[in-house]
């Protein structure tokens, strides 16, 4: 589905990713865990095309997309919800959804977002109650819900979630974890960048651990707890 092979990425003059290789298979939830600054967001940005990859390749469904611009990757089926949720602050929630609805179905007339895809609203039915609110006035949890639903509106094959649980109350985290499981059940693969190992193990089929831009562990969630070196590095 999604494969990174020896990817090097720089931010300005600083090399952040060093020969990062990882894969996300069909219908799988994979977590990329690591401390702040380890390279998780840079990995997600490199996959999404928001940062240029200096060396290595990014492949999606067997196609090399390393040089493809971000918007083409999105339309190919890579959904993205960033760490800050990326909600357009002056647009209403409905308008936030309309953008992806229109891009997913360019030929169709404007339809109310609530009717655009009932399947997506089934993830977070409460979103319907604040469709008219501007992005600026949403709580942290609401922003995350809108960001995930909005990414799903494009009908992605793989969903990239950058720190989806960060800064949220435990009850909201549980809510989002259930949503991720529901997304997986829809056949959509998920790659989550997460600094909290416990949250990661609640949702992941497989884990990658990253530190200083290098993948230092790859395996099942239960195996990571047995690896003291990785535990020490990831927990800091």
């Amino acid at each position: 589905m999604l494969e990174l092979a020896r990817v090097d990425t720089f931010r300005g003059p600083a090399q952040i990713l060093r020969a990062v290789s990882l894969a996300v298979n069909d219908g799988e939830a994979v977590c990329l865990v690591g401390r702040n600054g380890a390279g998780k967001t840079t990995t997600i940005d490199s996959i999404m095309g928001l940062l240029p990859v200096r060396a290595g390749t990014v492949a999606f469904r067997g196609r090399d997309i390393t040089r493809l611009p971000a918007h083409e990757r999105a339309l190919l089926g890579i959904g993205y919800a960033p760490e800050d949720a990326g909600i357009f602050p002056d647009l209403t929630v409905e308008e936030n959804f309309q953008i992806t609805s229109w891009l997913a179905r360019p030929g169709e007339a404007a339809a109310p977002a609530a009717d655009a895809d009932a399947r997506i609203f089934s993830l977070f039915p409460e979103v319907k109650s604040f469709l008219g609110r501007r992005g600026l006035h949403l709580s942290g949890g609401q922003k995350k819900m809108v960001a995930i639903s909005r990414a799903m509106t494009l009908g992605p094959s793989v969903l990239l979630l950058d720190e989806p649980f960060e800064g949220l109350a435990p009850v909201v985290v549980t809510r989002l974890i259930e949503a991720v499981k529901a997304i997986k059940a829809l056949g959509v693969s998920v790659l989550i960048a997460e600094s909290n190992l416990v949250n990661a193990t609640r949702v992941a089929d497989r884990l990658y651990a990253i530190d200083r831009g290098e993948i230092i562990f790859h395996g099942r969630p239960q195996d990571v707890f047995a690896n003291e070196d990785v535990m020490k590095t990831v927990r800091g």
Binding site: L50, P69, A70, I99, L154
Partner: protein
């Protein structure tokens, strides 16, 4: 009373043209975060093209034909904008703001020379349209009817632009791109296409300003530089990047300028700069701008 009405109409006339220029400038900044110094000469380009088109076919041509030719300048400015954005501006988006200012200022100078090269140093007139419209009586005074057309175009342009930005798909995508270009692109929006559309629309507005004002005052070299200075005062007062700000700023500058010309002509521009300075001190982002 009649004099006051005439002053008010004159203020609206200024405001209409200023809104077209400053609205385009603000739209371009709002979406692309580029302060387009060349904007004034896109306004001048619109004026020259319309004056040239009308001047070429004038001489007894029916007013309707001349009116049809009026927007030619706006279309020409839009086409020029659609060529300039991807070729000269796009390579500088990732550079520091100084580079963008330098490039657009250079473009202002290049366009000035281009106007001189194509149409020579002498003014171009399209006064036939202005004359064909005749005058109407306000109290005891005669007032050019054409000026009401200019005000009407300004009002229609403001409503049209508001509709485009707040009531259309393109407007939603435009606002999304202006708020978070990176996120818009990650959601599938072709940002380069949005930029070229926004720049073209902004240039169309500037060109329309030039096209509708030229029958009343001729196209002359330097008109773009004068216009861009006033447009910057408008956007400083109203808030760069805000359409509402451009409208209110244009009205304020239009009224103050008309009052200045009438009652304190020696310090007319100084008063405008003073207002801009006060707004900058009290509300640095402008009346409707976001800090």
């Amino acid at each position: 009373m009649d004099v006051l009405v005439i002053h008010l109409v004159n203020a609206l006339l200024y405001a209409s043209v200023l809104f077209l220029i400053a609205g385009g400038l603000s739209l371009i900044y709002g979406v692309m975060r580029i302060v387009n110094m060349a904007h004034g000469n896109l306004y001048a380009f619109g004026a020259y093209v319309t004056a040239w088109a009308i001047g070429s076919v004038a001489g007894g041509a029916p007013t309707v034909l001349l009116l049809v030719l009026l927007p030619v300048g706006a279309l020409a400015a839009a086409v020029l904008g659609a060529v300039l954005e991807p070729t000269l501006l796009r390579p500088f988006y990732r550079r520091a703001e100084e580079y963008q200012l330098l490039v657009t200022f250079g473009l202002l100078m290049i366009l000035e020379d281009l106007l001189r090269f194509i149409w020579g140093p002498y003014p171009l007139s399209a006064s036939e349209v202005f004359e064909n419209f005749g005058s109407l009586t306000i109290g005891d005074s005669l007032y050019p009817t054409y000026n009401f057309l200019v005000i009407g175009v300004g009002i229609v342009a403001a409503i049209f632009l508001w509709g485009v930005i707040y009531k259309t798909r393109f407007g939603v995508v435009l606002r999304a791109t202006s708020q978070n270009m990176r996120m818009a692109s990650a959601l599938g929006v072709n940002v380069n296409r949005v930029y070229i559309q926004a720049f073209t629309l902004g240039c169309f507005m500037a060109g329309l300003g030039g096209a509708i004002i030229v029958p009343g005052q001729s196209a002359v070299l330097g008109m773009g530089i004068d216009a861009v200075v006033l447009a910057f005062i408008v956007v400083v007062v109203g808030g760069l990047g805000s359409l509402e700000g451009a409208l209110v700023g244009a009205l304020i500058v239009g009224v103050v300028r008309e009052a200045g010309i009438t009652w304190f002509p020696e310090i007319e521009l100084a008063v405008l700069y003073l207002i801009a300075a006060i707004v900058l001190l009290v509300r640095p982002a402008g009346l409707f701008g976001r800090p």
